[in-house]
Symmetry: C2
Subunit: 627 residues, 2 copies
């Protein structure tokens, strides 16, 4: 028997399986970035009992785990193979768990005219008689045609219900029409309930779902959760690699994300007191990989040069084909993607911010594991996708963690004493650093001279916080001492962590830079910068500018707009005009493939500097750090 602490979940200890395998089988969530290859070192667990029933530590484990840790019972869950089916007790330490995370549900909301894809009409029919034996369906469709001027088709589900509904309602019937084209559901008599709709944003890391009243456009409830695909790889590429490993894996990832969407639907329904079958419409957005997997369509070619998507244009699929739990006749409208990894979320971003209607040039940066950037105005929009990696979300960072309770989210360094002040989510003892804190740390260390413009620690800084541990290849800077932390260990930022942030911000800046050159714009030509993404709101704009994540523009031009992908999905749920707009944007927007740009390498290398090798591009920062 294998027991996972602290939750106490139990599963048969199957010989030959890894601890991670069984955790997945049981639904116990353990961090895993590399998809179980032993190369990320994140799936740390502590064996509390039964060590002798596991394989010896692998080379990978000897690399990631210190001797002390091995003695304490630390293992990597993906490497520890069960040799004997005896009792094994495994503790998942906080840094390896996927505790409920702070997710941004709100977003900008632009007012739009209500024009949903579904509407209900109530009709009183004449009862059949021996001289009027018209079929039930003809009777209904004739009446709809004479009332609204067109003759819809009928979904198979509605068709089956019509005879019962007509008689239960004594020949008064409420029909739900989709796109003025198809009767998707029928109800006896006058139906008081409005049609409901859900909009879902399928992020690589999180899912956010909103329930709306389609009669008045109000958001009635929202819910969010981690994307459970995370257990199969934290970023898009490791999930695609997982899909390529076996034929069944696409279906598996598809099923887990649809399962999570269904749970969110149950959650919002019970908040409002309705049933999933009362939901008659849905819109979905996501990057190209999430979009494809949600549709059970392989995303593998999106990751292979020349990176074509399977599907760019928007598509209406029947909820029951995809497996989403809502009215059985309902459709899901999946918004269009652009190209490569630039998905329906980017289109939603543009619509939500109104970039496509602006006179002045504006830029949108949707920060995530993939960062989408859009630059333009009403005349022209270019977009690109940067593989910024998960560092902004706290991954690939020594003490990085997601923005969950216990994560340090803000850091200030006293330039005189070099003492550190920090703020933790939930105001509990810290167990790690979330992305915004790592950005703060790098910006603050730069500002206070602890690190130089190239990102290296200055050797002449004198503080016990800056140190090199015995045998460690790099120096590190202590953010929190062990006696202040939940783990009892120091929380540090290492030279390597700084490099990760430098690479991530360089990727974003390079994307911005290439798009600006493409449109022949200088930084000050960009009148507005929208920072979006579920994590975007928590980033300190000054810190982000300090490290050179975006060009040196006055901070009042920077606006945090939150989860614009979700906003765009909601707008598309409320208006078929927005759907048409999304489709035309998807065709109009110019996609720039960064990988093939001849300047990419050169720009990227220069952008690794803090804030940039050509520091004259950042005059404000030159002032701040006194250069």
């Amino acid at each position: 028997m294998l027991v996972f602490q602290p939750e106490g979940k139990r599963i048969k200890a199957v010989e030959g399986k890894t601890i991670l395998d069984l955790a997945k089988a049981l639904g116990v969530q353990i961090r895993s970035i590399c998809g179980g290859h032993g190369t990320c070192g994140k799936c740390r667990v502590i064996i509390r009992d039964g060590r002798e029933n596991l394989s010896q530590p692998s080379e990978n484990e000897l690399r990631f785990l210190s001797k002390e840790e091995l003695d304490e019972g630390f293992r990597l869950a993906c490497q520890a193979i069960i040799l004997r089916g005896r009792e094994i007790i495994v503790e998942i330490p906080p840094e390896s768990g996927l505790s409920r995370q702070r997710l941004l549900l709100k977003g900008v909301e632009r007012s739009i005219a209500l024009k949903p894809a579904v509407r209900r009409i109530t009709i009183r029919l004449k009862e059949p008689t021996l001289t009027d034996q018209k079929s039930d369906v003809d009777r209904l469709l004739d009446a709809i045609e004479s009332k609204v001027g067109f003759r819809p088709t009928i979904s198979y589900e509605a068709l089956r219900n019509i005879p019962r509904v007509l008689r239960e309602g004594e020949w008064v019937i409420t029909a739900i029409l989709w796109m003025d084209r198809e009767v998707i559901a029928v109800y006896p008599g006058v139906r008081d309930k409005p049609p409901y709709g859900v909009a879902v944003d399928i992020g690589t890391t999180k899912l956010a779902l909103y329930l709306l009243d389609l009669d008045d456009g109000r958001v009635l409830a929202s819910a969010s959760t981690m994307n459970p695909q995370i257990s199969y790889g934290e970023d898009v590429i490791s999930r695609i690699l997982y899909i390529m490993k076996s034929e069944d894996n696409l279906e598996r990832l598809h099923n887990v994300v649809v399962g999570a969407v269904n749970e969110l639907i149950d959650e919002v329904c019970s908040k409002v007191g309705i049933k999933p079958s009362d939901i008659h419409d849905m819109t979905a957005v996501g990057n190209t990989a999430m979009h494809h997997i949600f549709l059970n369509v392989t995303p593998k070619y999106v990751s292979l040069s020349p990176y074509p998507a399977v599907l760019r244009s928007s598509v209406d699929v029947r909820a029951k084909d995809v497996g989403v739990k809502m009215n059985r006749g309902a459709y899901i409208h999946v918004l269009p993607t652009v190209a490569g990894f630039v998905g329906a979320d980017a289109i939603a971003d543009i619509i939500a911010t109104g970039l496509h209607e602006m006179e002045d040039h504006a830029m949108l940066i949707d920060i995530g594991t993939n960062t989408e950037i859009a630059l333009g105005n009403k005349d022209q929009i270019t977009v690109c996708s940067c593989a910024s990696g998960p560092a902004f979300e706290g991954a690939h960072i020594t003490h990085g963690m997601r923005a969950a309770t216990g994560a340090i989210e803000r850091i200030w360094i006293n330039p005189e004493t070099l003492d550190v002040t920090y703020k933790t989510i939930g105001d509990v003892k810290p167990s790690g650093l979330c992305g915004s804190a790592v950005i703060d740390a790098v910006a603050e260390m730069l500002r206070t001279g602890i690190i130089g413009l190239n990102g290296s620690f200055n050797s002449d800084v004198d503080t016990p916080r800056l140190r090199r541990r015995e045998g460690a290849p790099y120096k590190e800077f202590v953010i929190a001492w062990g006696d202040e932390t939940a783990t009892g260990k120091d929380i540090v930022v290492t030279q390597n962590d700084i490099r990760e942030i430098q690479l991530a911000k360089a990727a974003v800046y390079t994307g911005i830079s290439i798009l600006m050159r493409h449109m022949n714009l200088k930084p000050l030509d960009v009148k507005r910068i929208f920072m979006a993404g579920a994590f975007g709101n928590y980033i300190d704009p000054q810190s982000a500018r300090m490290i050179g994540m975006y060009p040196d523009v006055p901070l009042n031009r920077v606006k945090f707009v939150g989860n614009t992908a979700g906003s765009g999905a909601r707008m598309a749920l409320l208006s078929t005009d927005v759907r048409a707009l999304a489709e035309s944007l998807s065709e109009r927007v110019e996609y720039v493939e960064l990988g093939v740009d001849p300047d990419f390498q050169d720009e990227f290398v220069k952008a690794i500097h803090l804030p940039h090798r050509e520091i004259e591009r950042f005059p404000t920062l030159m002032r701040i750090i006194g250069k």
Copy 2:
């Protein structure tokens, strides 16, 4: 344990269940006309062992079974309830079994221009490059659009396969297009196989299915089977009553008929060496009740005044919604019905015979448990449905049986000796009479004066074959003596059997008569009579005319056209023009509800006479019988 002989199938003897219940659960077929109410007396079985474990014979059984039979172990399967779960051995005698029956698969075939709903196109696409990252779907649809001038949608199934198929075929792809509207399937490279289609005629009693090559229109294979719904009631009304008994019963009948269709599909596929997934189109016809049940739509209101159908117009449903085993993207085109019980089979009949194009007036009689009659020409067509009952198929007749091996199918009576000559299907010892033999018997007895014009036995006929058994309420005429038969018992036609035939033929004649009056036609105005139906071909036209089933017209005007419903379904499979024609016929054809016609009662009563109370309507017959 309950054991059914002669097949030897075994099932646990569950206390409280009837033998019929367990036979159904096991898939053992026992005749049952009344749906298990104990009122038809057809589900006779012989208890070979374990009588003491069954309930005492019910009142119904005492009515249907003689004392000798009860002593021999005869019971009605629907009445015998298991009291104790011990060994019970049940023999199903031939007359109660549903042995494989002679079914007519052939039908008339009119030549039509090939214009199937599905077609395949093969396209060579440009490979994507870094400067041409068009999505797979756009790439395919753009190519189809530029080749054929329209842009189809894509089925969810095809969508999922596109990325794999494009690469397997090295950017050569064969797409199957449905109605020039939707890509329903895709194959790598050039596909040699044509699209295949199946046409199915869903009769109350039998299913007939044809596999066609949609490139050249050839019929490649055909197969037929009994409609397994028979176990739940032999006629449409008893099946509808069964459906009304419980919510699950519609689904059950739907599932058994779809299961049988799937078996027929497997059968024709293995004959030709293809897979069900190679089948890309299907057409289906049936009377309104069969049509509704096939679609899993309740037929119950069709049986309740004012008899409205749920669905009249043709409908395209996805095969996977209905559960039919063919290509997962394929559609089923279900032909339109007319009204009441006049279903898609009648429309198919009209199309197959070309009635709607004729200058002269013609009549079509599709004989079955429900007999559909159409009368008209290119200008006007009227139709009605007669509840002729299953007597023409051998049911409700003392020694009646289906047209299976061992059934007497032809009878001649020597007018001098009153001796009987008969022919048996399969040339084996007879076990009963099929419908055509009963019609022959009545016609021959009329011709030879054994019965009079009112259908009663003439008391002055002197032959040992005409007798009254002790205690029997009616006289009977012996067709075959016990020493000639498979059962060892005499095969007889009783006075009651004659009445059944009189009622059945009166129903048909009344329908004809009312339609003729509706169109203001006399018998000789009808230049052609088409006799259709799976059993129609075996009826002797002279005998049928002799008993007054149809008007007195020269026999050379009568043409047996076989299973025209199947022919019509095949034509619709081959041409969307035929589908459009069916739709327009369904709207154009005038339905006459016999039940509300003020002359119905009067006409019916007069038609019970042989051939008719107004015998002057049958001048030819007056000559034959010398009146």
